[in-house]
């Protein structure tokens, strides 16, 4: 039977395959060399970035412009916003810093062993090496550190298995730096909605924010198309619902309010609006930012929140800020940046 193949078919196959491999490899090599020409960054790259500030508060963020510095940590002084940013040697997909601790979600490792890591750097260990590294699977989504730098939390998107196509679910972990205790997934906690134990096959958690007592935290729980703002307890491993329809909470520095994304429309491309919830009164206030933003906001100070907005052409982000009381209007804060956090 094998003698039945005409010679020309084998030749066409061999040449065709060679040509296709040539195109694939050629394009990959061409792509790899193209940006090298543009890597003459004028800005000096600092070896490390100090994680505490001696003088005026600074904003640490991830460089989100397309180019050789994409993904590098950078900072900008709030006292002198016009000065060119300092670029760090650390590269992150998503980062957050507080209390002298930096959490950085990044891909690390060479070639086939590349993996996503949640890396923790502290100002106590001045070398550019992480003090903790937790290997993760998935796509980095959210990062947060408690105000005193003792607790860190991250969320990644985990895609489903190939038999069912990629249905997205999230996985949220918390690491206690004091004890080294790792909560690999919040899904091991008991959830209560309006006081009733809630069980479902499709529970997901994302977007943690910590309170000052290093025990209480807030996060989003999603299930069956609904989302809830949950108040969690790290000691008894429990979560209780606070309000429905609230995603990616971020607690204000004074601990009285939470800024979150609220689903306000059915539009696929613009479903959300930022709201601030007063935890004491339960009052919700819509912020002046009318664009739909898919980000966990951060507080610049007690009166202002900041967040990343993608460029309209889909090739990077800018950091914007807006007052937290519903007044004023959004203002551009840092061009080509994402993942902002305050160092003070």
């Amino acid at each position: 039977m094998s003698s039945g193949i005409e010679r020309w078919r084998i030749w066409v196959f061999a040449l065709g395959t060679l040509a296709l491999i040539g195109v694939a490899v050629g394009y990959a090599v061409y792509s790899a060399h193209k940006p090298a020409a543009a890597s003459s960054s004028a800005t000096a790259v600092a070896k490390t970035l100090p994680l505490t500030s001696a003088g005026a508060p600074r904003v640490l963020y991830v460089d989100a412009g397309i180019g050789p510095d994409q993904g590098r940590l950078a900072e900008e002084s709030q006292a002198d916003p016009g000065a060119s940013p300092t670029l760090g040697a650390i590269q992150c997909e998503r980062s957050y810093s507080a209390g002298g601790t930096l959490l950085c979600l990044r891909l690390a490792g060479a070639a086939l062993t590349t993996s996503l890591y949640a890396q923790v750097y502290t100002s106590a260990a001045p070398s550019a090496q992480p003090v903790h590294a937790v290997a993760l699977t998935g796509t980095p989504s959210r990062a947060r550190v408690s105000a005193d730098g003792k607790l860190v939390a991250w969320t990644v998107f985990v895609s489903g298995d190939s038999y069912n196509g990629p249905n997205f679910s999230t996985r949220t972990g918390i690491l206690d730096l004091r004890t080294g205790t790792l909560i690999d997934s919040l899904e091991s906690f008991d959830a209560y909605v309006d006081g009733q134990r809630y069980r479902a096959v499709d529970i997901n958690y994302w977007g943690v924010t910590f309170a000052a007592d290093d025990r209480t935290f807030y996060a989003t729980m999603g299930s069956k198309g609904h989302t809830w703002l949950m108040r969690g307890d790290l000691v008894i491993h429990q979560l209780n619902s606070v309000v429905e329809n609230a995603e990616c909470p971020s607690l204000s520095p004074d601990g009285t309010r939470v800024v979150f994304k609220k689903r306000v429309g059915t539009s696929i491309s613009a479903p959300w609006r930022f709201y601030v919830l007063d935890l004491a009164t339960g009052k919700e206030t819509a912020l002046a930012e009318t664009r739909s933003v898919d980000d966990q906001a951060a507080w610049l100070d007690d009166d202002t929140v900041m967040y990343a907005i993608p460029h309209t052409d889909g090739t990077g982000y800018d950091i914007w800020k807006v007052p937290a009381d519903g007044t004023g209007s959004p203002a551009l804060m840092i061009r080509d940046g994402s993942s902002p956090s305050v160092i003070d």
């Binding site: 039977m1 193949i5 065709g16 296709l20 990959a28 940006p35 069912n164 972990g173 096959v201």
Partner: protein, 462 residues
């Protein structure tokens, strides 16, 4: 007995002694049918060629799957809601199109052409990613085109495998194809990683899309150059051209209808992989990376066992292996609900899970294929595949709903009970104790005779 007739392997089936008498009655019939076969047939080149097409196509699509989440959510910043909507297309589109594509393939006897369109469409869709950019509508079109291609090609491809292989080795042929297919799924993510390591992020995606397109084109090249279309159906002279109605009328044939009913019922008692892994995760408290490795475990076992199970099916009976394969699934359920934990639980469960797929997925196609007339084989296989997909869909809805009310262990035990019940019904519909050779003999009879051939039990036909 028929041991002396050449295919000595057939005698070594080791049935229970209580079946000996039953088997004996069929022997004369069997030897008569297989008399002219002097040596065991080989898996035809066409099957290897189709396997190679699937291998390259799977590399192409799995390398995209590996990075798609990252691309959409981080690089493009498409919202999760949009991603969820795109996912819906993944399951809805192929089901809708499988039947109509299968009908066209039979109607115009153009199985290779329809499969080729399917493979080609998926290949071209890879280049759509950079063009669509962050546009949700554009990405929907790209994903839709890829899935449309998959829906179009599956039944014509399985029909070509079925029509290419002699009926005695259908099981082995499908085993070879499914093994090559799974190898592709293994290689894809690795190649994506290589692309990532030689290009920086911003450029790596384009490089992955181009590589994926080129890989799919190699698959297409193999299809065009080395796959022979099965255009001439075993001449059933005088029959009218297949119509949509005649495709569905296949269900009026009792043997095929029984396969469809039994296959669908068993699919309802199947717990989706996602849920199996979820229960394992709950039992073992796995880290994210261990969790991701669960699917690799199942695929690995499937990959290694697909050909052996196919061979076994040809030897002792395809229905018997398909039916018995569910014992592996039952064992998986019992392990999930049972007291044993630790690494042992994961390893044994995943091995059995892969064994279940190896004994059922291709084997069922190998069993059903020969009982369908050649000119309607694509439609028949598409009907069977769609019904089973529907059954599996029901199962997932039931499982997801019940999860909220029952502890995982109890729920899995209920499904185990359901599986036993479905196995009992399936066993009444098609008796798994029938011997292999009788099975293929009956099937040949069914194919050669007109639609009048009725009983699945050989004893009755004589």
């Amino acid at each position: 007995m028929y041991i002396s007739r050449g295919r000595g392997t057939v005698a070594t089936t080791g049935d229970g002694s209580d079946e000996t008498a039953d088997q004996g009655t069929h022997v004369a019939h069997v030897t008569a049918v297989n008399e002219d076969e002097s040596r065991p047939p080989r898996v035809p080149r066409n099957v290897y060629a189709l396997g190679a097409v699937s291998l390259f196509t799977d590399i192409s699509s799995e390398m995209i799957t590996a990075v798609l989440g990252y691309y959409l959510l981080i690089y493009l910043k498409v919202s999760t809601i949009a991603v969820g909507t795109l996912d819906g297309l993944y399951s809805a589109v192929p089901a809708l199109l499988a039947l109509s594509a299968a009908y066209l393939a039979d109607r115009y006897r153009r199985r290779k052409l329809l499969a080729g369109f399917g493979y080609g469409l998926s290949a071209v869709s890879k280049l759509g990613f950079p063009i669509a950019g962050a546009s949700v509508g554009g990405l929907g079109l790209v994903q839709g085109a890829d899935r449309l291609g998959k829906g179009m090609r599956t039944a014509p491809r399985d029909a070509m495998i079925s029509l290419s292989a002699p009926s005695a080795i259908q099981g082995r042929a499908f085993g070879v194809h499914r093994t090559m297919d799974t190898v592709g799924a293994f290689l894809g993510p690795g190649i994506a990683t290589v692309c990532f390591s030689i290009a920086v992020t911003a450029q790596a995606f384009k490089s992955i899309f181009v590589t994926s397109f080129c890989t799919a084109c190699i698959g297409l090249l193999i299809l065009v150059l080395f796959v022979t279309d099965q255009r001439g159906p075993a001449a059933e002279a005088g029959t009218a051209r297949p119509t949509l109605r005649s495709g569905l009328a296949l269900l009026r044939r009792r043997p095929f209808r029984r396969v469809c009913v039994a296959g669908t019922l068993l699919a309802v008692a199947w717990i989706s992989d996602t849920f199996v892994y979820l229960v394992l995760q709950q039992r073992l408290d796995l880290t994210a990376i261990q969790f991701a490795l669960l699917a690799v475990g199942t695929s690995g076992s499937y990959l290694l066992l697909a050909v052996p199970m196919g061979r076994l099916a040809d030897r002792i009976g395809r229905w018997r292996v398909f039916y018995g394969g569910h014992a592996a699934l039952l064992a998986v359920y019992l392990l999930l609900a049972g007291p044993v934990g630790g690494a042992l639980l994961a390893v044994v469960t995943l091995s059995l899970h892969g064994l279940y797929y190896a004994a059922t997925d291709g084997v069922l196609m190998a069993y059903a294929g020969p009982m369908l007339p050649a000119e309607l084989r694509t439609s028949g296989l598409a009907v069977l595949q769609s019904l089973r997909a529907l059954g599996a869909f029901c199962s997932s809805i039931i499982f997801g709903f019940a999860w909220a009310y029952l502890p995982a262990g109890d729920l899995v035990l209920y499904f185990a009970g359901g599986l036993v019940l479905m196995l009992a019904i399936a066993g009444v519909l098609i008796d798994p104790r029938r011997s292999a050779v009788v099975e293929s003999a009956v099937l040949e009879t069914t194919a050669v005779e007109s639609t009048a051939a009725q009983s699945p039990v050989a004893g009755e036909t004589r």
